[in-house]
């Protein structure tokens, strides 16, 4: 009976047998309620930040979800010597950023992040490799090439740097001469795969630098220890020899008839050559009637 007189607790329902609401219980309840409230708010805030279109005029929405890396020189200064640690931090940030998807188009900070990571850790091979592979596809081919150049300076013994840079030149710039040059550099490095120099030959061929391509295939054919590469480069050599043979025939044809032949078959019918050679690469030959250039026939 005495409990009725003490106002130190109250009951929520007043029903018989209900638990009295002591101060401690109230505190405990309040802690959970407010913790839950902050949790709900946090979840909603995150989804608002990521998926709601910007409402503020003049403020770039992406700023909220994009990483904002420091400039490399500032990052170096504030790392106080722990440059590799900071590089790792930005590396993890980069992975989260790229893996998280971008709801608003382009990964604008991607090149900047690769730059800061490799400036902080100039010998981080995987960072260069990853950058050279993903940057061009995200619309940063020039930045990727700059990254490759930096990698070549920082890691002069690595064949990967010129190799991947060459791929960027090929795939995103269609600049076969530059690609071939990069592959030639890569081929001089220790541990470079045997096929590297073969690729240099292919690129020179693509860029119509056939004599150069021929020389490279010849070197590859004579020096490589890789059976596959020797076989392929042998076929390329044969193919190029056939091309040169046809070019000579086209020149003779023009001397005789004052015009270029319409097809390789023309050379046979006019008795310039006995038969059209069959390329070991499985492609036919075509002749440009305007310039007389011999090229691979489009399949």
């Amino acid at each position: 009976m005495s409990s009725k007189k003490t106002p130190s607790f109250f009951t929520l329902s007043g029903a018989e047998g209900s638990q009295p609401m002591t101060y401690q219980r109230f505190t405990l309840l309040a802690v959970f309620v407010f913790l839950g409230l902050s949790f709900v708010a946090q979840i909603n805030y995150d989804s608002w930040r990521r998926y709601t279109p910007p409402k503020l005029i003049g403020i770039d929405y992406n700023v909220y979800i994009e990483p904002q890396p420091l400039s490399p020189s500032l990052a170096k200064a504030v790392s106080f010597g722990s440059t590799e640690f900071l590089a790792d931090y930005y590396w993890l940030t980069l992975i989260q950023y790229y893996g998280g998807g971008t709801p608003n188009g382009k990964y604008r900070k991607l090149a900047e992040l690769f730059n800061v990571v490799t400036d902080l850790s100039p010998r981080f091979v995987q960072a260069y490799q990853t950058g050279l592979i993903i940057l061009p596809g995200e619309g940063f081919p020039d930045e990727a090439i700059a990254l490759g150049e930096k990698g070549k300076k920082s890691l002069p013994d690595s064949w990967e740097m010129p190799y991947y840079t060459g791929l960027v030149y090929h795939i995103y710039k269609k600049d076969f001469v530059s690609a071939a040059k990069e592959f030639q550099i890569a081929a001089t490095k220790k541990d470079a795969p045997p096929i590297t120099q073969y690729f240099a030959g292919i690129y020179y061929k693509e860029a119509d630098q056939r004599q150069l391509a021929y020389q490279i295939f010849k070197t590859v054919h004579e020096t490589t220890k890789d059976d596959f590469v020797r076989e392929r480069s042998g076929k390329q050599l044969l193919h190029l020899e056939m091309t040169f043979f046809l070019e000579d025939a086209v020149a003779k044809y023009r001397q005789q008839f004052g015009r270029y032949p319409a097809s390789p078959q023309d050379l046979v019918t006019k008795k310039i050559i006995k038969e059209v050679p069959v390329s070991p690469l499985g492609v036919g030959f075509a002749i440009d009637t305007q310039t007389g250039a011999v090229s691979e026939a489009k399949r």
Binding site: A77, F80, G81, S82, E84, L92, F124, Q126
Partner: protein, 255 residues
Amino acid sequence: MKYKVLWAITLNTFRETLRDKLLYSLVGFAVLVIAASLLAGSVSLGQDARVIQDFSLTAMLVFLLIITYFIGTQLVFKEVERKTIYLVLSKPVSRETFYLGKFFGLCLTILVAGLIMAAMFLIVLYAKTHSVPVAAYFAVGAIILEAWLLTAVSLLFSSFTSPLSSAIYTFGVTLIGHGSATVWLLSQKASPVMRGILEGVYYLFPNLEKFNLRNDVVFNLSPDGTQVGLILLYFVGYTAFLLILGVAVFRKDEF
């Protein structure tokens, strides 16, 4: 100076710091952070070894320095505040012995704490990569040397200011010491007068970047004999300078 007395004070200081709950929480937290580097490594696109090494060694340095700041700056101050220093100094114990005993005692604590953290680091690294680069041992050693040098700095400051201010000053010295390359770069671009001042700062403040072998661990680049020799020489020279200066100040202190 009696070495027996020095050893007694060293051992007592070590015991005193071991009773400090702060030490346990710091060592515990450092071990936790080192273990957590496993998690960070798992989201690093196959760069586990790299992330574990960088994160753990940085965590080791940071936590050892926090121990230096907060325990090192309190040692002498506590004795003065509790007036226990009278009891000691009234015995045949010189002030030099007292001061040096405090220094060596804390060095012992830092060594033990550092070895616990290093053991955790090496276990985590070995469990993940099944190899431990030799450079890691050098980096751990250099981190402990750096913490010892900063212990001498914090003792020097605490001999004439309050613990909080000496912790802040020691932190400042740490930043300047690790920013020494930046200081040098600035000095080369500055006007002649400013250049003189900045070069003075460069040579006067401890050049802590010498003890930074952490960045080479990832590439397993061990320091060569000359480098190790010069690091040790620098450590001995600079620490002796700080201790002599500290003892000189401490001798003039009045309690």
